[in-house]
Symmetry: C2
Subunit: 232 residues, 2 copies
């Protein structure tokens, strides 16, 4: 197959949980690009070193190795111009970048504080040691301490989703009449959480919850079929 | 003149400070639509009642009266299709709506808590009474109490601008190669503050500050020429 994605996995090679890889997997499905998603672990640095990075996603196509999810989305849009658009034009491309910085700053950061302690149990031993050590250094405390108050702190996270919720009260997708890159960018962090943690981030009556459900169902239920913990 | 904008003003009819009206004024300038911006005060409800609203902006064109800034931006895009685009295509239009909900939830709400007590001094007496009464009801306390801790609370507001800042570190405009609706939507609340309060919302080394400066200079310095308090 001519397109390969290096895709983060847990001890179970079918547990694919990277939010950044999910952005790309949804985009590949949207574009209808046939590909192989190879399992990759945090400690497999050598397998992607030629892409000049130590993190996935890395996409391989036509002799190139492309790192970083946003760069990959732009690459897909530019190299498969005849397939359904990810951005819906140049204005959509520019503003999808804002959705990306918003999703990283608000969703990734917020969700990490709510689920990070649930992740090591899903990892192969060497990855669990690597993950725990690097994340404890980042947070400055043990991972169970980071999430100890999550029952209370999830309220703040839900409030921070208000701009997304306001749009989804009016319309089914963020990107336009159909789902697109901005939807996949915001979905990635929620799918990350779903794959590693049973902690309920969203209430069932939240328009964000319903939108997540539509994205889980998209592309023949690609994301819903993934091994996961939060089945709500 | 065939296009009229009802535009909120203070006791001085030249002090135009509505964040929502500024979104529309910048969009009218971007489109090059000749218009008259008529001064309107909070208590002039009768002047806009035919638009089915009690708030400005209201745009009059071709016998129609159109309320609500987002609706007006879409109207301008659709009725002046040959003029420079506000959205850069359908994807940009959809995601500008997300920027609008983000700007309202994060910027408007955040800035209101930092500057609201500075507004009544700029208003005509009947408006000052109306504004103080309605806003104190909204906040549940006296306006000087709302802003009493602003020297400290501005730090949180600046942190909340991080998604915007991340984009503006990479590129000059939010909307694409040129400024567009998303820029004007995020600029409106900052221009609101600038017109009524000397309190510095942004530090001079912030990419958001530099971007605000570019928008103040746009269209021959339209926004910079407006009577204002924060001249930084």
């Amino acid at each position: 197959m001519s397109v390969i994605l290096h895709d983060l996995c847990g001890a179970d090679p079918d547990r694919r949980f990277s939010p950044y890889c999910w952005r790309v997997r949804m985009a590949l499905a949207h574009k209808g690009v046939a590909h192989e998603a190879l399992p990759w672990r945090f400690t497999d640095k050598a397998a992607i070193a030629d892409a000049g990075t130590d993190k996935v996603p890395v996409l391989r196509h036509a002799g190139r190795a492309i790192a970083e999810s946003w760069t990959i989305l732009e690459y897909l849009e530019d190299h498969w111009p005849g397939a359904p658009s990810l951005f819906g034009g140049e204005g959509g491309r520019a503003l999808s970048r804002f959705v990306n910085t918003w999703s990283d700053a608000v969703m990734m950061t917020g969700i990490a504080r709510l689920v990070v302690s649930d992740i090591p149990a899903h990892l192969a031993p060497a990855d669990a040691e690597y993950f725990t050590r690097t994340r404890e250094a980042r947070f400055g405390r043990a991972l169970p301490e980071v999430t100890a108050s999550r029952e209370r702190e999830v309220e703040g996270f839900r409030r921070d989703l208000h701009p997304l919720r306001m749009v989804l009260r009016e319309r089914p997708w963020l990107s336009g009449p159909t789902a697109g890159a901005a939807d996949f960018i915001a979905f990635g962090p929620l799918q990350w959480a779903r794959c590693v943690s049973a902690f309920p981030l969203l209430t069932p009556d939240d328009p964000v919850h319903a939108w997540r459900g539509r994205l889980l169902d998209a592309f023949g239920g690609l994301a819903r079929a993934a091994p996961a913990e939060d089945l709500g």
